[in-house]
Symmetry: C2
Subunit: 150 residues, 2 copies
Amino acid sequence: MSNKNKDIEYIRNQLTREGYKFSYQRHQIVKAIYGNAVHINVDEIYNKVKDKDVSRTTLYRNLRLLEEVGVLKKINISNINYYELEKAGSQKFHVHAKCVKCNKIIDISEGEISESLNGLMEKLNKNQKITVSSTSVVLSGICKECELKI
Amino acid sequence: MSNKNKDIEYIRNQLTREGYKFSYQRHQIVKAIYGNAVHINVDEIYNKVKDKDVSRTTLYRNLRLLEEVGVLKKINISNINYYELEKAGSQKFHVHAKCVKCNKIIDISEGEISESLNGLMEKLNKNQKITVSSTSVVLSGICKECELKI
DNA sequence: CTTGATGCAAAGGATTTGCACAAAT
DNA sequence: ATTTGTGCAAATCCTTTGCATCAAG
């Protein structure tokens, strides 16, 4: 079974386990998000599924459901929500960076950073008032391209 | 001069420097945010200033302006925007944690964490495609109180 | 069959904008 | 005087909801 099929099977199971059906529309939505590199916003998802019998209402309802079921993560950057599937073998931490000049969003996926964050989370779980289960890190700055333009 | 006056003076200067006035309403808004512990949302600010001749429109306009001028930071947690003043001597990094059970928001201000984040930022500036000037870290998990209730 | 899922249109909440008036330099 | 700031009401954007119909298990 391909990775993709395995991942989608996992999502189906999570839904079924909680008594939800894996409808045609849900399948379309999951595939649309899956097909994307890293993060995708509602409009981008909608553009991918609107010709496949998925309404905006259904899209919103299911984004919320997939989040509740724990297979989808929402990240808010500059008041826009982006979505990412939580795949089986996927990195535990995602760091997103946003260029304040061109508004481009960059996904940062370096092992080193992941390690730093892991250590950070361990410290928090030991010393602080909360047991952390998920993180969202958004950095703002100026990307290399925009820096050259100044 | 008190810390508070110094901080407010700094904000006035930032505004003046960019050609904006330090109007009565702006002063009220700044004081309302200043008076608060850590983060405060629009409604909370509005409740503090509505009896002082500040309309919602003016509030929104000035939150945006203060952000642009670089003295106010917006943090989005669960689709609600919170605001914090960037004071002169204030910590460079803020970590916010949200309890997924009771929705309480906790401000985490431990030196150790700050150090980890500093290191993280240095690595990013060296290796990555962006020069980071500001960070937002939001953790989700279960707070100690809610954990005991389970 | 029976319950959950969908689409439409309408409602909702948060934020922004057009315009005329008021305040500051 | 001229520019910047304000308030109101209306507009806009994103998301949710009520209701009748449809489809999955």
